[in-house]
Every structure is written in C-alpha cells, then in structure tokens.
Symmetry: C3
Subunit: 206 residues, 3 copies
C-alpha cells in the first residue's frame, strides 16, 4: 500500500471516529472544548496505542499536524451542524462502522510493516479499530460498544486478518478494499439484522 | 528553564494532584492503600503517558525515587489529616487547578525539548495536565472533570501553548509564571463564576 | 530465574487472569467474542503496560504467539464450561489472587532486569499485578477490586518487593516461591477473614 493511500485512509478513519466522539459529546451536552477533547480521544486513541506498542514514538498523531487538525475541525463542524444529523444514534453507529473498517486495515498494515507476525498484526489491527471507541465510551461513562452483545470485534478482526495477509504477500492495493469491505458490510448487516455472536451456554437469556 | 526548576515544578504538580486523588479516595472511604494507589495514579498518570509518547522510557516516575516518594507521602498526610481540610470538594478543585497549571507548563516544556512541533507540544502539555485527573475520575467511577461542562481544557491548552512558545524562543524562566498564571487564574475564575464554554446549538439546555 | 521458568509463570498468570476476565464477561452475558476480548485485556493488560514502561516494545504479548493463544483458548474453555464453576464470584477472587501472586513476581523480575531501582521495580511488579484486573473492571463498569476496601495492593507490593530483592541479590529460584506465596496467602486470608487496611480517621464508617 502506498504511503499516500495509507495516510488518506488513516485520516478518513480519524475523521469519522472523531465525528462519533463529537456526537456522543453533543448528546451529553458537553461544551465545545469537551466535545473536541472527546473527538480527539476517539479519533486518535486507537492509533496512538498501536504506535506506542510497535515502538513508533512520538506517534504519528504528534508528528504530523494533520492528525491533530483533522479531528479538531471535524469536531467543530459536528458541534455547529449537529442538528442536521437528525436522530443521531443511528448515524453514530454507521460512522463508527466505517471508522472500524478503515482502522482495522490501516492498523494491521502498520503493525505488519513494523515486523509483527500475522496473528499479532491482526490483533493490533483489531485494537486500532476498537481502541478509540472504547476510550470514548469509558470516558463518557457508556458501556463500550464492544461489550454490548453485538457483533463488533469479529468483523474488525476478520478485516484486520485479511489486510495483514494482503500486505504480507504484497498483493495489489485494491485487495484492501475487500478487507475493509468485509468488516464494514458484516458490521452493518449485524447492526441492521440484530445479529449477535453465541451467548454463554446454560444461562437464561430470556 | 533550568532542570532544577523543572524538577521542582514537576514534583509540586505531582504533590497537589496526588492530594486531589487522595481526597477523592478518602471521600470514597477507601483504605489507606487504596488512597495511596489512587494518589499515585493521579499524580503520576499524566506525566507517565507524556513520557511514553515522547519515547522517554522508563519514565521519570520510575527512574527517580522522588517521583514515587512525593505522592506516597502526600497521600499519607492527606489520609491522616483530612478532617482539617473541612468541606473537601472545593479544596479538591483548587488543588486540581494548581496541578493543572503546573503540569501544562512542565508537560509542554518536556514535549518541546523532545523535538515536537509547537501544536503537538501544546497538545501534550494539555494531556499531561488533564491525564492524571481523568484517570483518577475514571478509576473512581466519577465523570471526568473535563467532561462536566466547565472551562477546564481551554485554560490548560492556553497555558501549555504559552509555555511552548516561551521555551521555543528561549525566553527567561519568569515568563513561565505567565503561562501557569493564565491557566490557573482563568480556571479559578471559571470555577468561581460558573463560566462555561459554548454549548451545542439547538439543544434545549433548560 | 531462568527464562523458561519466567515464561511458564507468566503464561500461568495470563491464563488465570484471562479466566477471571472471561468469568466477568459470562456473568455480564457477553457473547463469545466479548468474553474473549475481556479475557485478553485482563490477561495481557498489566504485562503490556509494564513492557511499554520499560521500553520493551513490541511487548512480549505481541512478539510471542503463545501470549495471544493462551488467554484466547482459556476464554473459550471458560465460555463453554462455565456452569461447572458453580457460584462464580468466589472462584473469580481465588483465581485473581493466584494471578496477582504470579504477576507481581514476574513483573518485578522483568522490571529489575530492565535496570530499574528496587523501589521502582517493586512498584512496577505491583502495577503488573493490578493493571489487568483494573482494566477488566473499568471496561466492564465495575468498581476496581483495588478500590473496594479490601487488602489487595499491599500483598501484591509485598510479593513484588521480596521478588525484587531476591532477583537483585541473585538468590536461588525457590525463593520466588516465598515471594509469590506471601502475596497469595496474605490475599486469601484477607478474603476469607474480611481483613481490611486502616480506613480514613474521623469518618463515620457505620
């Protein structure tokens, strides 16, 4: 994957995750700076943790000013124009799914480039995808989406694993669309149809 | 800024943040060791995250015994003498403002010395200032102060930005007093007068 | 301590902590992937933070596939066979105490090997021991066990301090059993007899 493409996908993921963080902040009636901080945590949290774990410090989020400006501007736009989003919970979930798909691909690719094995790179892609949203939810006092009994981690891990294999074998960039697409479509279908993964046996789930 | 001055300001910030963590622990009726752990997290959390992000590992908190002893002793003093503090919530907020002012300055200076750009160094000063308190509140099950609709992040960012510019241009140490002072006075005025930043448009805040 | 012994103890600690995370997930009625993610966070969280703080990145959890497979398989076994555990809260606490004893020893040894001083190495052993469980509890919306007014941090710090001294002086491996044993037995006795550390003076604890 070319560096330019990786940067664009990374910034796109940061923007949509930042938008989900900003929307959560708006719903909590935070002020403009609280909204911005929550957006920055959500957009940059997963990637910063990944960079720290692969030893890439200072992380990209601090070395490249675009990584700070993109989520900051996104949060201001959401803050100003949020009524246009209408009923927001649904929009948050769709944006979150797009961010998840973008981050599980870029996170896995960066981890593979850092020399990790396939399983570890896929795990780190998963962590990049779910990390920012988990920080957003913990900071805002919500149950992290990953622990709400929906299919969330599985699509992300599938996308990250495909992206790792694609990168490891040097396949054409277009194959990354497959990796992200599998994650995105699987997650959106799970949302729409209420799919969930198997629940613990022997408990009364009624 | 001389290394000695930086160390003294850093330890002072650690002590006051540790005191806020210890007071939260006392109010939650934790035992003496729970109070101490919460004080250590609050006092050292922001600086440790900053050190990790700029690649300064092991962080100062683990390399210099004073960074462990100062918050530990502070927490024991608060534990033993807390009734003298009287109505504690107000004291916590004032100490917290002092710690915020100290940390946004020392954090920004350390980040600038590590070679970060001005915007990133200021952002890391902000993170140093708010990180420990955010960990304290999340660990103790409270809404982080930064997300309570008060002016908190803005004064910290302003102080960090001034400190970054002062350090970048090699101004005299006394200018750091201005940086910390802007943060402290702005935050204290916001507390006293109930200032808040703009809220999302179009919501009924009544 | 030989590297093989250290690895075995580390994986044993990861397995039992992963089991506690999986049991919390089962009790929260998470699906199989939520249970696995919570198990991975609990089993690997403390060690990953320790590795980041001593500059050992990528952390062992990402460099060695066994560190991912052990907690993943553990979580699946717990998920499938959890009814055999019967009344689970008690089992969680006992497994947690075993994991605490193992991690405070291995964490302190790794920190000492990384060149930290005795106090810092013991503190990092404590953090390794309590970190994963704290992340488990925060992520699952529970009050961290360390803040529930039970003796928890003290036995862990005692075990970590003994292990640090043993390693620093190059004593025989069997002395580590003493370090872990002190932590484990102290913690189990505290659980059984309801021991707690001193509470803040002057509050009405009735």
């Amino acid at each position: 994957m070319s560096d330019t493409l990786l940067l664009i996908l990374d910034l796109a993921g940061i923007a949509v995750f930042a938008a989900t963080g900003a929307l959560v902040g708006v719903r909590k009636e935070l002020d403009v700076f609280g909204v911005m901080v929550l957006a920055l945590i959500t957009g940059l949290g997963g990637g910063v943790v990944r960079d720290v774990l692969i030893g890439a410090v200072p992380p990209a989020a601090l070395e490249d000013w675009r990584y700070l400006v993109v989520p900051a501007v996104t949060s201001l736009l959401v803050f100003a124009f949020h009524p246009a989003f209408g009923r927001m919970e649904k929009q948050i979930m769709v944006l979150d799914a797009i961010g998840l798909a973008l981050f599980c691909v870029t996170g896995a690719v960066k981890a593979e480039e850092a020399g990790l094995g396939i399983l570890a790179a896929a795990a780190l892609g998963l962590l990049t995808g779910v990390g920012g949203g988990m920080m957003r939810d913990v900071a805002a006092g919500r149950v992290p989406v990953i622990f709400r009994g929906e299919l969330y981690a599985t699509p992300a891990f599938a996308g990250a694993l495909i992206a790792t294999v694609v990168h490891h074998n040097g396949y054409d960039s277009w194959w990354y669309v497959l990796a992200g697409g599998v994650c995105l479509i699987w997650r959106l279908l799970a949302l729409k149809r209420g799919w969930s993964a198997p629940l613990p046996p022997g408990l009364d789930h009624g």
